[in-house]
Amino acid sequence: MSAQFLYGGAGILLFALGLWSLLVHEALLRKLIAINIAGGGVFHVFIAIAYRGDTAPPDPVPHALVLTGIVVAVSATALVLALHRRLEQAEESAADAEGRSESASASSAAPPPRTPTERTPTERTPTELTPADLTPADLTPETLHPETPHG
């Protein structure tokens, strides 16, 4: 009982610590680490309650649950990091486009806005592409702001 409580309690502390860090910190990587620590805490509670002393064999069911949980956590981590990388790309290309459109409007009048016509995702003429459009993959007209002056 006491070892279970000792270890399970540590798991709860880790959960609370991760939760605190998640709420307090701004940077995404720190939030992600915080979630993983909180998750580690929850898994630790499962492992602790599976432990039944050094004589009895441990309960295998929580062990299997934790294994599933670890794989789920790493999957989510991978997806979060990929989304984050894509967000950085989108932000940088948006910043690039901003800089360019500023210099463009200094030399000439703003280009006319795109006419509101129905467009399908395939509809994309090569001449419409600007370097900023080329950066993120799979761009469709809907992904661009229709009000973005270009083309």
Binding site: G8, F15, L19, L22, L28, K31, L32, I35, A38, G39, V42, V45, F46, I49, V61, P62, L65, T68, G69, V72, S75, A76, L79, V80, L83, H84, R86, L87, A90, E91, A94, R114, T115, P116, T117, E118, R119, T120, P121, T122, P136, A137, D138, L139, T140, E142, T143, P146, E147
Partner: protein, 481 residues
């Protein structure tokens, strides 16, 4: 026969795997799998309708070693709604993504999402539900970011983190329950659970985790940007189906597993949060500049209505009045599923046609897209709760229940929410008309306009004029007159 309960999970899973392996044919594989999934879901509903509750334990080990699947009236009702709405979304998506490189990403993720959704409705095991919720959350966030827009990615990144936090909190509650009661099966736990402080802590953890996932006010902050920036079919799926999964789970856990603990005080807290959601969500929907953002805030409000039922359910003894309230709550959830999916699909068509979805500049859309505007009007009337929609009956039973239990304070909330909803729906419709001449065609693109229209129509007519089957499948008597 109960063996077949796995099919609504297995069929879309296999379809998703095949669509992953055959990217060139993903649309074809996806459409066929969507049809088969829909049929399997409706088939299970039919079985429950004919034979009553079904249950099986996978692996041949029996509970508590194996994982149980079960379908009762509540599962069947949501399964049927999901089957119809998801099929309509699939048909619409076939046209929406036609020829796009996004199609090959959409179909596998969409089928995995559908598999998880059905899995949540059919699961009878608390840990299996955790895995299902994670599959649902991951595939939903990936689908929501499919446009590649900066706002969409940022919103879905937040959605993903929030979802993870919700699942972890839920999982900690499951850990406490397993420690105390030694099983993960909902049925067995229901028999063993007593009004202990441990169970109360577990309830608090699990319900707050799920409330975060279902975007109950004030935990709704992540929903509007995530739902408003997804591609239209995904928005429809997120708002109509995905948030329902965690709501369904709260309803089931609250009324079945935690019935001995979930007393009037806790239920009133949920009701208050629901009231906050109704008022705040409706207000923000009225102030929204964009059509899809309006629809997303309207989802926050509609989720709120569902939680207004909890304090009434808690204060009524078992009997016809309570059954009516329960059925009305389910009916409202189903109606919102159809109506909001129809609304989002129609909004997506408007966005395609107009090139944007700014409400103030929608002039003339009604003339150019009569069927789509009609869909928005129909779905909107169901969101407001005009007769004969399903939510009219739902709100009526809700208000009657508030009178009968003496909790009159829920009445002004409902009335005010309804007025605000009428205002935001009317605002959209009043902007949609312009001075352009009316074309001769009612429907201009059948494959995408008809699913939206049928969904909107179902929310008004099918669930309003014929609400009886909902009462019947939940195992209650006739619907209130």
């Amino acid at each position: 026969m109960a063996d077949l309960l796995i099919l609504p999970v297995l069929v879309p899973l296999l379809g998703g795997l095949l669509a992953t392996a055959l990217p060139v044919r993903s649309a074809l594989v996806g459409t066929l799998a969507a049809l088969a999934t829909s049929l399997s879901g409706l088939g299970i509903t039919l079985l429950v309708w004919l034979h009553g509750d079904l249950g099986t334990v996978l692996g041949g080990w029996g509970v508590p070693l194996g994982i149980g699947l079960s379908a009762d009236g509540l599962s069947a009702a949501l399964l049927a709604m999901a089957s119809l709405v998801a099929l309509a979304i699939s048909i619409y998506a076939g046209s929406y993504f036609a020829g796009s490189a996004q199609a090959r990403h959409f179909w596998p993720l969409w089928l995995l999402l559908w598999s998880a959704l059905n899995g949540v409705f059919l699961a009878a095991d608390l840990f299996n539900l955790y895995v299902m919720l994670e599959l649902l959350g991951l595939s939903a966030a990936a689908l929501g970011a499919l446009t590649g827009k900066r706002e969409a990615i940022a919103a879905n990144l937040r959605y993903l983190l929030v979802g993870l936090l919700g699942s972890l909190t839920y999982l900690l509650g499951v850990a406490l329950l397993y420690t105390a009661y030694g099983t993960l099966d909902i049925g067995l736990l229901g028999e063993r659970l007593g009004p202990t402080p441990i169970a109360a802590t577990a309830l608090a953890l699990m319900v707050s985790g799920l409330a975060l996932k279902t975007a109950l006010f004030p935990l709704h902050f992540w929903l509007p940007p995530a739902h408003a920036n997804a591609p239209a079919p995904v928005s429809a799926a997120l708002s109509a189906l995905v948030v329902k999964a965690s709501f369904y789970l709260i309803l089931r856990l609250w009324t079945e597993l935690f019935a001995p603990i979930a007393d009037i005080g806790a239920a009133t807290l949920l009701g208050l949060l629901g009231a906050g959601a109704v008022l705040w969500g409706s207000w923000r929907a009225l102030r929204a500049q964009r059509l899809k953002l309006l629809a997303a805030y309207s989802t926050v409000a509609q989720i709120g209505y569902l939680f207004l039922f909890f304090p009434l359910l808690a204060s009524l003894p078992p009997g016809t009045a309570r059954d009516d309230l329960f059925a009305a709550c389910v009916l409202m959830a189903l109606t919102h599923g159809f109506a909001k999916a129809g609304f989002f699909l129609a909004a997506g068509l408007v966005q395609r046609k107009a090139g944007h979805d700014r409400i103030s500049e929608l002039g003339g859309v009604a003339q150019r897209m009569p069927a789509t505007t009609f869909s928005i009007a129909l779905a909107g009337s169901a969101l407001v709760g005009l007769p004969p929609s399903g939510s009219f009956i739902g709100k009526w039973v809700l208000m009657r229940g508030a009178f009968e239990t003496g909790q009159w304070w829920w009445l002004p909330v409902t009335v005010l929410g309804t007025l605000l909803a009428a205002a935001y729906v009317f605002r959209v419709l009043s902007r949609a008309f312009g001075l352009e001449p009316t074309p001769l065609q009612f429907v201009t693109n059948a494959r995408s306009e008809i699913p939206a229209l049928l969904l909107a129509f179902a929310s008004v007519a099918l669930l309003g004029l014929a609400a009886g089957p909902v009462w019947a499948i939940l195992g209650f008597g006739a619907a209130p007159a």
